[in-house]
Every structure is written in C-alpha cells, then in structure tokens.
C-alpha cells in the first residue's frame, strides 16, 4: 500500500457543510459512516451491486461506495438522515415503509428508501412492473420485495395527490 497525502475536502451533507481530511481513496460511503458518524447509509457489498449505500448527489440517486468523497466536493449530498423534516415528520416514503411493513432485518432499508424517493421523483413508479424494474438496484436478502413494492406504490400515490 502506498501512502499518499491526505487531502482536505468540504462536503455539503443534508444542508450542512463539513470539512474533513481524507486519503483520496476514501469513498463517500466511508466518509459518511467513519468520518462523520452518519451511519444510516449502510455498507452492504461495497462493490456497487446491492444498493444499500444509495444516497442522493445533486438530487440523483447514486451509490456512495463507488463515489470518491473527493468527487462529491461541490455537490449537494442527501443521506437517509436528511430525509425527514426538521421537526421529525417522516418523509412520505418512510411513512409508507412503516405502514406496509416493508422490511424485515432493515439493513437494506435506508438504501431502499433513498432509491424509492428518487424512483418516484423520476416518474418511474407508474406500475408495479415499473417499480420492480427501477428498484432492481436495491437488493433485499430477507425478500421483503412485495411489501417494498406496495410501499413505493402507496408513497407514489401520496406524493402525486
């Protein structure tokens, strides 16, 4: 392992500015979890295959495990911690996941919810088939998929009304 100089970066996360010094190889996922204590974003495969680390960068859902923290400088990052209102009122997707019991162990849930928020915003939640296709990047080892689809469907209707 070669040692390279740590670099100073500024990150804008959930509306707050953070300054940190990291090795260039540090991913956005590790910066959130290990450097900033924002452990809501989960590390599943760490290889871009499971979707557990889904966050929004400039409003687009992306994988934090394949994004360098340094790349995110100058962009607005939203993690699961930034989804609810300041007064604790849950986002419609969070509430729908609770109501539909859309999880078992819960490990994939933050990624599922961040992905679902974007899926609805993109206009890709028009039918159950479309929800399944556009949520395919979020794996759930417990197999809670039918309830996840129900939650996304419910939230999409609520957001539209």
């Amino acid at each position: 392992m070669t040692s390279k100089t740590r670099i100073p970066i500024q990150l804008q996360i959930n509306g707050q500015r953070h300054e940190l010094e990291v090795e260039p190889r540090v991913t956005l996922l590790d910066a959130l979890r290990d450097h900033l204590g924002l452990t809501g974003t989960k590390k599943g495969c760490d290889q871009g295959q499971c979707g557990a680390c889904t966050v929004h960068v400039d409003g687009q859902r992306v994988l934090a495990c394949l994004t360098l923290a340094a790349q995110a400088q100058g962009r607005a990052v939203t993690s699961i911690e930034g989804l609810a209102d300041g007064d604790g009122t849950l986002h419609a997707v969070q509430a729908a996941f609770l109501e539909q019991d859309a999880f078992q162990c819960g490990y994939c849930t933050p990624g599922q919810i961040m992905s679902a928020v974007a899926c609805i915003r993109e206009g890709h939640a028009g039918s159950d088939d479309e929800i399944r296709e556009y949520m395919a990047g979020n794996l759930c080892r417990c197999g809670a998929y039918p309830h996840i689809v129900a939650a996304v469907r419910q939230a999409a209707l609520e957001v539209a009304s």
């Binding site: 070669t2 390279k4 190889r25 290889q47 687009q60 394949l66 790349q71 395919a136």
Partner: protein, 327 residues
Amino acid sequence: MRDFSYLRANTVDAARQAAALPGAMLLAGGTTLIDLAKCGVTEPETVVDISHLNGLDRITVDDRGVTIGALARMSSVADHAEIKSRFPAVSEALWQAASAQLRNMATIGGNLMQRTRCPYFRDPANFPACNKRTPGSGCTAIGGVTRGHAVLGTSEACIATYPGDLATALVAFDAVVHLGDRQVAVDDFFLLPGTTPEREHAIEPGEMITAISIPGSAAAGRSTYLKVRDRQSYEFAAASAAVGIEFETDGRTIRDLRVALGGVATKPWRARAVEEALKGKLLEADIVKQASLLAIEGAVDHGANHYKIELAPRIVARAILKMGETA
C-alpha cells in the same frame, strides 16, 4: 484499494495531459474504475477526476443524427425524447443496463471503456493467471467455468465476453467515437483479443473520449434492443441483439437491416452476414430464422457456454420479426 493521488481536471487539455502520465487514469462516473480498484485489478497512481468538466454532457440532435457528450449520464441519454424516438435501440440498451443508481453515475464515455465481467479477470487474488490483466500469464477461463464466456471473436489467449449493451446498439448503427480531433468508428474502437487481450480499445495514452455520434437513419428509427438474461433485471446479457429495419414502400421487402449481438462475443459484434442475406427479401418467419443462423458463423464454444450458440440466432430472429410486426 491501494491509495492514489487525486487530481481534479478543469479543462479537457489538462485532463489529457494528466492522463498521459504513467499510472494515471481518468475518473468519470467511477462505476468501473473504483470497482476494479477495489478488486485489485487496476492500481492507478493518480486518479484524474473529469466528472466536473463543463459542457461535455450535452446531447445535440440535428438532421444528420445525434452527438452525445462523453460525460452525459446513461440515465439522461436513455430518457432523452429524441433518442427514444429516433434511436429506440440505444435508449432500450441503456435502460436495460445496470441499475438506476449506476445509470445516474456512469457516463457514455466511461461506458465504452468498461471492462469484461470475466470472474477470473476480476479476482487476481485467487486467479493470478489472466492474459488480459497480466500479459503472458495464461487464461484461467479456458478449462474453467465458462457459462458466461464468449463464443465469437475469441482467441487462445482470451475468451472474455464484452459485457456492454450500449455499444452493441452503437455498432449496429455505425456510431463514431470522438477522441478530441480524431474520430474512430465504434466497430474499430473495440479490439479483438488476438494475442494482445490486454489492449481492448483503439485509444492512446493522453487521448480521451469527448463524444460519440450516431448517424440518423430509417433503420435506427425503427429499432429495438432485445436482451435475454438469467433474471428479469439488473443483469448482464446471456445474449442480446440490437436490430434496426427499413422496408421498401411495399412495407414487406427489407431495404436496410442492421444486426449486432451482445453478450456472446469478445467485442460488440456486428452480424453483417445476416444483414446481407435478408436485404431485398420479404420479411417471412422461415427466411428470417434461417438467415439469423448466420449471426453465429464461426462460433466456438468452451463447454458450458454452448447454449449461447443456440440462443443468439433465436434472439436475432425474434428481434427482426418483432420489428416487422409493426410494419
């Protein structure tokens, strides 16, 4: 992942200069580079971040066709209204690839540079022999588990499948890769493994993909991308076909036909023999099925991937007939 230096490029020229340095690699969406760095397949000394360059993500459509900036994201190209209407196979190849998150990250230029998913290539710790990774070290796939490996364009040195969907559609419609001032046909941009499988693209150190352009055509306007895989979504192709068709004014005789295969070859595979066999013919199921067998001419299997030799022509025929239904 070995550490590296990080450099953010502010201009295309600065990016090219930095990329020409030994050990430097360009970083756009990161979905290939960071992934392979974590696998230990790539070990860049310097990562040159081009994802903040301005103006390279434009999609420009005119009478001649479309030009897509290298930094346009897969998702925005897939959803672009004129790409959908004038190049449906391109849009379909894109939205059927990867996942929504990966499509939001991955750029069009980076997509062309993606590497094979050969499991031996991706696992240097367990499989040190790989001619693509370490020239001359041998090929673990030959004699190994070959279910996903190529049956077309292989060599004794490498049988790794080219995994992409987009380039399969691009090669069908004669797209061109822009490397700054130099332009290369997509078909020539991807190289056969031969004796040098480590060299996959006709791009030189210090060069950078700046755009791709696709000429408009009647066949591109009436096109589809048919992808068959082990699961419904978020999977690489077991076999796929990009097909475009243009009929004579009678609506039944084939004037122009484009056919390319994905998931079965070492590079995006244009099936010109199928095209030539069907031009001037009536679109009839038996004729199409017979001609589609030409898609797999010269195929060589390595055991477990034999099914691709049967699957690929069926997919070609199905895609052609599907395009004919709407005549």
